[in-house]
């Protein structure tokens, strides 16, 4: 059973490679620079074949791999179906669904420019994210521990927070000296709101006995805020940061429409207007990989900080 399971990816990548090489391309599709997809399938075939033969020798080693084998087959099947629907038969509209070879081609030939766009986006995203997260945690703590701040600031948060960042564009454009600062502000705003709300609600839901214990141990109010309220609220703060991060990706694309010179969101919009959809998909792939990595990084950081929660809460 395990042998069959670890052989399936070999079979699927072989079939994918045969489909890519043997079936003729539709004349409707412009020719790609090179058969990149076939290269990928060939590489996958070699890797899965090696894993399969290693697995025959030491079955213990394959256990992990066979767990992922069905998923690997699923991805290969999806790419093959897409390959057939686009370049092989041209069933999907050619203009909007370019061949995978061309998308891969863009990723390779346009790599330097896309990389530059990515760096500009990351600079904007990280600036906005750090400002928004810091402001959110600060506001959240203030609302959480200070009744005065709760009275005056909390209604403001409730009113301003849910407004989508796009709605701020007209105001932001006239209030900020540069496009970069305006864009960073929009991203900061998107991160600030969920971080504030969850930090303050996190502090609000701390059981009172922690504060009482701290008081009987001789802790001052200030010490209690930073050594009891903040760490106890951290699980909530991270949920806020996670929500803020996903909101910041959405806002990034909006913000880069304000007149950015470079940026991955700007690149996607620009290429869409140029009707070069291969570039749009390349941009989307780079963006999704970046977002995936950033979220993974946030999760890893959270696991490190909240190590005391191990086994207590999972999300």
């Amino acid at each position: 059973m395990h042998k069959l399971k670890s052989f399936l990816p070999v079979l699927f990548s072989a079939l994918a490679l045969i489909t890519a090489l043997a079936l003729p391309d539709s004349p409707l599709h412009p020719e790609a620079q090179a058969p990149f997809l076939s290269y990928v399938f060939a590489a996958v075939l070699i890797v899965t074949a090696v894993l399969f033969f290693v697995g025959l020798k030491s079955p213990r080693y394959t256990k992990k791999y066979t767990h992922k084998a069905p998923f690997c087959c699923g991805v290969l099947a999806f790419l093959t179906v897409l390959n057939i629907l686009t370049v092989k038969t041209a069933i999907l509209p050619v203009l909007y669904f370019p061949s995978l070879d061309r998308v891969a081609g863009v990723l390779i030939t346009d790599a330097a420019f896309i990389g530059k766009c990515l760096l500009y986006s990351l600079r904007l995203l990280i600036t906005g994210w750090v400002c928004g997260a810091a402001a959110g945690i600060f506001t959240g703590i203030a609302i959480g521990v200070n009744p005065g701040a709760r009275y005056w600031v909390y209604p403001l948060v409730r009113v301003l927070g849910p407004i989508p960042s796009t709605a701020w564009v007209p105001l932001v454009l006239v209030s900020f000296p540069t496009v970069v600062s305006a864009s960073a502000f929009l991203i900061a705003l998107a991160v600030w709101f969920p971080t504030t709300v969850l930090t303050s609600s996190g502090i609000g839901s701390i059981q009172n006995s922690y504060f009482e214990a701290a008081a009987t141990l001789g802790a001052s109010p200030g010490y209690t805020i930073f050594k009891v309220a903040v760490p106890a609220a951290l699980p909530h703060v991270f949920i806020g940061l996670f929500n803020g991060t996903t909101a910041s990706f959405i806002t990034l694309v909006t913000a880069e429409m304000l007149g950015a010179k470079y940026g991955i969101g700007w690149y996607i919009n620009w290429q869409k207007e140029m009707m070069s959809y291969a570039n749009v998909y390349a941009g989307l792939i780079v963006m999704s990989i970046t977002c995936y990595l950033l979220i993974t990084f946030l999760f890893k950081f959270r696991d490190k900080v909240l190590i005391w929660q191990k086994g207590v809460i999972k999300w």
């Binding site: 009482e212 009987t216 001789g218 802790a219 050594k227 005391w308």
Partner: protein
């Protein structure tokens, strides 16, 4: 010798969630000598926990006064250690950092690192310094919480049903532990409990309270020497006396049959 408590004519009212006023304590006076072990016992609502929280300074009386060595108690302080029913260890700190919390908060940790180790050994948690509370059993957490309350050398240790959540055997072990620590540390201890046997086993004096309104009806001196035999004849006599004071009469069960 320090750690004397003087409670005089204290009244305390609460408003319950239904909006009714509950008289938790009515004209309560009690004087506790330094180094005494006092138990506060009585049914729910008799104000025993309220009295303990008044001494800790977590709440203040509506009228009357609570004094520690002649000075009014107005706020919680490290001179009165408090051990809660739930262990209330901070889950984000390991056992060592939990026990050191009070010393760090008062900025006296530098130079007293040895003290933390000493108290970890005292409660038998050597080797568990790096563990987080969720990795330990309830009994071990209560030991850590006891060490945390003791490490700052309080004059008075307040215990709010600290063993209530433990199983019977862990409970009896912890009672011996508390007696051992008391002999070493020599401080005033005031404990709230539901358990008559626990009160007799540990206390010099037992303060018996009744509810509605919460008041002290009697203070029983336990004239037994340590170690006390649980279930010994004198022990049972005190048991019966306290139950009588609380209006629980002990009747012998009817035998199923006569010979």
């Amino acid at each position: 010798m320090v750690g004397g408590i003087e409670i005089s004519h204290v009244n305390k009212e609460f408003t319950n969630p239904q909006g009714e006023t509950v008289r938790a304590l009515h004209d309560v006076s009690l004087s506790i000598a330094p180094g005494d072990f006092i138990s506060l016992i009585g049914p729910s609502g008799c104000g025993k926990s309220t009295l303990l929280r008044l001494i800790s300074g977590l709440i203040s009386p509506d009228s009357g006064s609570v004094k520690l060595d002649g000075g009014d108690i107005t706020s919680p302080g490290s001179d009165r250690g408090f051990m809660f029913q739930e262990h209330t260890l901070f889950p984000w700190l390991n056992i060592y950092d939990n026990i050191a919390f009070g010393l760090r908060a008062r900025k006296i940790f530098r130079g007293s690192e040895k003290l933390v180790d000493e108290f970890i050994s005292l409660v038998g948690l050597k080797g568990f310094e790096k563990y987080y509370p969720h990795q330990l059993s309830g009994g071990m957490c209560q030991r850590a919480s006891l060490a945390r309350a003791l490490v700052g050398h309080p004059k008075v240790l307040l215990l709010d049903e600290p063993l209530g959540a433990l199983d019977a055997f862990t409970r009896m072990n912890m009672q011996d532990e508390i007696l051992r620590i008391r002999a070493e540390q020599n401080m005033t201890m005031i404990m709230v409990t539901h358990d008559v046997d626990e009160a007799i086993y540990l206390s010099d004096r037992i303060v018996v309270m009744t509810p509605r309104p919460g008041k002290i009806i009697s203070v029983v001196d336990v004239g037994l020497s340590h170690p006390r035999a649980r279930g010994g004849e004198d022990f049972l006599a005190y048991h019966a006396k306290i139950l009588r004071l609380l209006n629980y009469t002990i009747s012998k069960p009817e035998p199923d049959y006569y010979l």
